[in-house]
Chain length 201, copies 2
DNA sequence: CTTGCATTTTACCGATCGGTCAACTAGTAT
DNA sequence: ATACTAGTTGACCGATCGGTAAAATGCAAG
């Protein structure tokens, strides 16, 4: 069981940075096996297909985020709107450190995969959408508390949350186009100016 | 000359929808040749490499946009901020019509390609960045005129323009994740709430 | 009629793609 | 000791990848 778990996690460890830094189609099973130091047949013992592998990779990234600085950012002890500042900061420093190590801005793997595969694979698309939906609810929860605290004027928390998530993904996209995490630093803070007003039903 | 031009444009006509609806890596030269009704050797007579093809495809899409509804949206006769409304509307209706025909939201080919290839090919990245830079200047020009007309309070037109472009790309990304152009309709108008204030130097 | 050039076809290159299969190893439970 | 099973290996599948080279075609100018 331990050995099995070890091989499986070595596969994931080899796959994660490759999918993040290149693309789904550009990373082959064979290369991943070489990176993990195993044979291809062994790979297919743990993952029925390449798609299943990338789903596991998505889960690992999502867990890392959720338990890492996203958990720190959305700390209930912080004033609501400061959590958003914190999140932007964290994204900036993360991308910056990746660039320092790797030489390139890799961006958000969820966004990367979404634009690459979501027209070709509805199962992957659904998986990625679930990630975004969870992220959106973190934002909307925070916005709700900010409104309740009187920090910001009432607004449509659901739609504003979605708008903020979209903005964050868009900023990361433009930063990747420039291979420059400073774009995040310059544009990130404007996320708090986004507002979708309540429907005046 | 005519025949040559015809073959070349048939190649482009076959390549464009394929790159738009799938991805760079997922579309092969052979398939494009079949779509264009030619042999592979003929393809390489007109394009030295796959990268050169996709650069030509990018140019064609950029021209289409620039001469199509982007030109209409940024009509100097319109009040500045209405041009932005118009652009969002146009993007929405475009994606919606694509979905009706194709069954899927394809999103923005520039954004799609950026996230797929920009870590792997600096030449393509530079090409895509140039597209975004041009788009940004359309926004900043518009914002400058809106400020001059007193429609909006003074702000950092360059950074706000970049933020708006990022937001547009991000909204399209989320819409693609949901395979639903209505996301554009719901979130698009909030683009005008984005502001980056002037540095109080 | 011929030379020359652009275009096109056909066949081919080595490499890689995702995935399968049968044989083999090793540890565990009976 | 034996049977079972999880894990692993290495060889293999047909298909496709981007790209090349040489021969054939067609056309136009001299």
């Amino acid at each position: 069981m331990n050995i099995a778990t070890d091989t499986r996690s070595r596969i994931l460890a080899a796959a994660k940075p490759r999918f993040h830094s290149r693309s789904y189609a550009n990373v082959g099973i064979q290369e991943i096996c070489e990176g993990a130091g195993i044979q291809k047949g062994s790979f297919y013992h743990f993952f029925p297909s390449k798609r299943d592998l990338v789903m596991a990779v998505i889960d690992e990234f999502a867990d890392e985020w959720a338990n890492g600085f996203v958990a720190e950012a959305f700390d209930p002890a912080l004033p609501p709107m400061e959590r958003i500042d914190y999140l932007i900061d964290a994204a900036y420093f993360w991308q910056k450190s990746i660039k320092q190590v790797h030489g390139r801005m890799l961006g958000c793997i969820f966004g990367n995969l979404t634009l690459e595969v979501s027209t070709q694979d509805d199962i992957l698309r659904a998986k990625l959408l679930a990630i975004f939906t969870r992220a959106k609810s973190r934002f909307s929860e925070t916005l709700g508390q900010a409104v309740a605290a009187g920090t910001i004027a009432p607004l449509d928390t659901e739609l504003t949350a979605e708008a903020m998530l979209a903005y964050l993904e868009g900023v990361i996209l433009l930063a990747k186009a420039q291979n420059d995490p400073e774009v995040l630093y310059r544009l990130g803070p404007a996320i708090k100016t986004l507002r979708v007003e309540l429907k005046t039903a």
